[in-house]
Symmetry: C2
Subunit: 282 residues, 2 copies
Amino acid sequence: MQVIESPQEMQNWSRAQSRAGFRIGLVPTMGFLHEGHLSLVRKARELCDAVVVSIFVNPIQFGEGEDYDRYPRDLSRDLGLLQKEGVDAVFTPTVKSMYPEKEQTTVEPVAGMENKMCGRNRPGHFRGVTTVVSKLFNICLPDVAFFGQKDAQQALIIEKMVRDLNFPVRIVKGEIIREPDGLAMSSRNVYLSPEDREKATVLYRSLLMARDLINRGEREPSRVREAMLEMIKQVNGAQVDYVEIYNAFDLSELEEIRGQVLLALAVRFGTTRLIDNLLVEV
Amino acid sequence: MQVIESPQEMQNWSRAQSRAGFRIGLVPTMGFLHEGHLSLVRKARELCDAVVVSIFVNPIQFGEGEDYDRYPRDLSRDLGLLQKEGVDAVFTPTVKSMYPEKEQTTVEPVAGMENKMCGRNRPGHFRGVTTVVSKLFNICLPDVAFFGQKDAQQALIIEKMVRDLNFPVRIVKGEIIREPDGLAMSSRNVYLSPEDREKATVLYRSLLMARDLINRGEREPSRVREAMLEMIKQVNGAQVDYVEIYNAFDLSELEEIRGQVLLALAVRFGTTRLIDNLLVEV
């Protein structure tokens, strides 16, 4: 397994793989890997000849006062896990090599997909994501790139970017991997105190309850939303960031629940912000 | 020579060339080709194995009230010229195939390079350029892309974009090709009346005069600028859009004329806007 720090070297490596006729699969991550990431790596292994995992905590997708500095990092543990999965190359650039100049050309997502859900309280977050993903695509030259469905809005914004800018990359989404009690796996789960860890199951429980409501015939988005808010309110210390229900393809508003629907929420426990979502087909 | 309309087909063609080990050269144009374009095609022929010329009048780089609708077009003449140059493929997409969705992810140049010169009176122009060039790079997959030095600001903004977003593309700039009387070749020259065509030589004449001033020791940007303005003012009907002097690498302001300096100007004759520039080394 190659561990490559320099963007130029990484691009050379990828170009050589590509010239040799190998299909490259890229799994972009911020490290501190869990089963969610590893399930994407296994998918990549299945569909591609050469698997690249990038590990880069991208500063420009964090807002002021967010957890960039304390975001959990453990490179040597990550490398051990990836080695076991048979990954071909790990790309671990420095911030300086990714952003060498003071000002930076950016990639701007469409407003209608960016300014809601995680984008509402994290202005500039998705611009940071589309910009770094464009860079990673151009450096790692993947034929296929793998994103987790846990970041549903991110995956949709990246799919839109790939269509709009004609990136020669196929996007594959991996389903949410959960702990036995239903909590979606996330690098940020380590922030939780044992009490909050237990309370955090309310995210998934509220989603399952909402799906139940819908399956029993509820078609009014506001009523489903209110039932979820009500359930979360019962949990001491859980602060709702958002609970939203959108068209699952373009995040447009719904007059009634119909077709492929995305139920999504973000909840804070102290300074830790967790997200989760569920796709429901009506 | 292949003439390809569909972005998907173009991408397939380019990918096949690339897989076969050929170096692809791309010359992006808006058509109505002149010697300036053809000199870039010849450079591409020299440096690459497969030459692609794109012809696309890109609506999103034109502002309201600009000349998008009347921009000169003559595809069959263009194809004849390119055939003679031994071009391998011409990419002629429709607007609908390039912008199929209502809203579009864009590529945003850095403000400090965009908001001056041609960007000052054409807001959004360079965002349209960087967005379409990103699309063309992702569709045509060039190893080398060729841009004319006549659009000096455009070339610098694209070079910055390539560095910032790590496009695996080398940028080669071709010098300005001029008519015998010095007028820089431009598809827009056909708009000029015979009288204005003659007057239009003032752009290049003012640049040569400015270079002379500098060569004779002038180091004060404002004095060089004023001398150019004064000369243009003598020409009846010539309306200055801008006359500017910048650092030739990053378009930063100059306290004194020193190093590689870009002298650039835009002048209107009636509704026709012409640009020109000169690099001066001190």
